[in-house]
């Protein structure tokens, strides 16, 4: 079953096409990676899919319904969640509170009950707290529960974003370079977390430079170059594809 379908998607910044007529589809329950050299338009694709940017042309369909043009918070309600290459952490909150914001849509967020602290609000908050602590343990930053987010090391913040994204209970999770800036051990740990997420039935779109990780965990890989699809296929097909090698090695080929 196709969860996400992207059709002739284009995005222009001042006349320059960052993404140009891109089409692809993501099957439910798979790990679908997007790779490509720097400036290929990977992050732009993620921003277009999650509603951070509005597409110049083309459309995005989630579960068959057109969702392009919707703002990110509405897409979150549709089951889309993501992490960021440049971390988007709420630095004035604790680590746990960061994850709890991920529960936003699942909590009583009306003004009056919050102001008057209705018992229902408290009860659901408590439940959310427990759930979020579990999630933090799940991604491997359980020991930072009470810490200020600003005091967390970089690697932990990357996981914290994953936990926050998971807290929304997404159908589709988009990870933007979750291993960037991590050392080898940390990378393997994140690797394992992604596998566990996929095992729970959550579809994952992964943008990553760490080829070892991508080749190891992806069901399917989309290769971008200059905002266009270079090729798409299973990891072993991609590894052998001459265009991919050329693109990565530069114009020499």
């Amino acid at each position: 079953m196709t969860l996400l379908r992207v059709e002739t998607l284009s995005k222009q910044f001042g006349g320059i096409a960052a993404v140009d007529g891109l089409s692809f589809a993501v099957e439910a329950g798979t790990i679908h990676s997007i790779i490509g050299p720097n400036g290929a338009g990977k992050t732009t694709v993620l921003n277009l899919v999650t509603g951070v940017y509005a597409p110049s042309r083309g459309a995005v369909y989630l579960d068959g319904a057109m969702v392009s043009g919707k703002p990110p918070y509405e897409l979150a309600a549709c089951g889309l969640s993501r992490t960021f290459q440049n971390l988007q952490i709420y630095t004035s909150m604790t680590a746990l509170e960061n994850v709890m914001v991920g529960r936003h849509l699942r909590l009583d967020r009306r003004l009056l009950p919050s102001l008057l602290r209705f018992p229902g609000v408290v009860r659901r908050d408590e439940a959310a707290r427990d759930r979020c602590i579990e999630l933090m343990e799940f991604v491997g930053c359980g020991r930072y529960v009470d810490a200020d987010a600003a005091s967390l090391p970089y690697g932990a913040l990357k996981r914290l974003e994953i936990a926050r994204a998971l807290a929304t209970e997404p159908k589709l999770l988009l990870l933007d370079e979750p291993a960037a800036g991590l050392n080898a051990t940390e990378s393997r740990e994140v690797d394992a977390v992604i596998k566990k997420i996929a095992a729970q039935g959550i579809t994952v779109i992964l943008v990553e430079h760490d080829m070892k990780m991508v080749m190891g965990i992806s069901d399917r890989i989309l290769v971008l170059n200059h905002g266009r699809k270079l090729t798409e296929g299973a990891p072993d097909e991609i590894a052998a594809h001459p265009d991919v090698i050329a693109a990565y090695l530069g114009a020499a080929a």
Binding site: T43, N47, V52, F84, Q85, N86, Q88
Partner: protein
């Protein structure tokens, strides 16, 4: 009919040029530090009050003006050195409060050093009105407009052609980037305050024959200057001038055709409407969020 309209327009241009001069200083400091200096109006006041008192001491105007500008620039540097630089990377609002504190301090010093009276400077080229198609304008208004124009040209030259100006521009685009290529951030900041205070003082001096001056004169000029700078687009000198003219003409037209009680309100309504459609002002750069 035409002469009435023309009279309102002259009135608006006079006001607009005054606001533009007040607004320019906001832009310079904003460029170098992304600080909104709420003590900017006080620089104008210091320039005018210092000139008044130096003239009172018997100095000729030609000597009093550069001295007063130097005094204001020194105050500007001191403000940057002792209040803004030590604040370092404090939040925007914190720095705003610091500059508000500075404006209170400078007004306090002014009322002790000088007095609480209103003072007038003699008009530079007399007070015989210039008549155009039945409408009149004072020669001093031309001085104000001329100085605004000269300031814009001088700033254009400074930022476009001199090393110090380019360094300042570099800082406005990327603080870190500028630091990496060896721009002395701190000196740029101090220079920007000196420049902005000096320019403010010149503005204060040329408008003093029209508006008079007192230790509190900076409050109104600061507020209007801030409005002009924001309306035009922060960090854009040409924008500040354009913003000043829009506010000034809006006030005069409103006082002339609508209601003198609501002229300030009309100006603010225009500012609000412009900002709703152009959230970064008339000539401001469109900021994009990178994620």
């Amino acid at each position: 009919m035409t002469s009435t309209f023309l009279q309102f327009l002259f009135s608006g241009l006079t006001l607009g040029a005054i606001y533009a001069l007040a607004g320019l200083g906001f832009s310079i400091i904003y460029n170098a530090s992304h600080v909104i200096n709420f003590a900017q109006g006080e620089f104008l006041m210091i320039g005018a009050m210092a000139t008044v008192s130096l003239v009172g001491l018997g100095l000729p105007l030609e000597l009093a003006i550069p001295l007063a500008v130097a005094i204001a620039a020194a105050v500007g540097v001191a403000l940057a050195r002792f209040a803004v630089v030590p604040a370092g990377d404090a939040s925007v609002v914190t720095v705003i409060i610091i500059t508000i504190g500075a404006s209170i301090l400078l007004r306090g010093v002014a009322q002790v050093v000088w007095d609480k009276e209103f003072h007038a400077l003699p008009a530079f080229s007399g007070t015989v009105p210039i008549s155009v198609l039945g409408a009149t304008m004072l020669p001093q208004s031309l001085w104000v407009m001329g100085v605004s124009l000269a300031a814009i040209l001088a700033l254009g030259w400074f930022f476009g052609r001199t090393m110090a100006g380019k360094a300042m521009l570099a800082v406005s685009y990327s603080r870190l980037g500028a630091q990496l290529v060896g721009v002395p951030i701190r000196r740029v900041l101090l220079t920007s305050f000196a420049l902005s205070a000096g320019l403010g003082a010149i503005g204060g001096i040329v408008v003093a024959p029209i508006t008079f001056t007192s230790y509190e004169a900076g409050v109104m000029l600061g507020l209007k200057g801030f409005s002009a700078a924001v309306l035009g687009g922060l960090g854009n000198g040409l924008g500040a001038v354009l913003g000043g003219l829009v506010v000034g003409i809006a006030e005069a037209m409103s006082a002339g055709y609508l209601s003198s009680a609501y002229k300030d309100a009309t100006a603010f309504v225009i500012i609000l409407v412009v900002l709703f459609f152009l959230p970064n002002g008339l000539l401001g750069h469109k900021g994009s969020e990178r994620v």
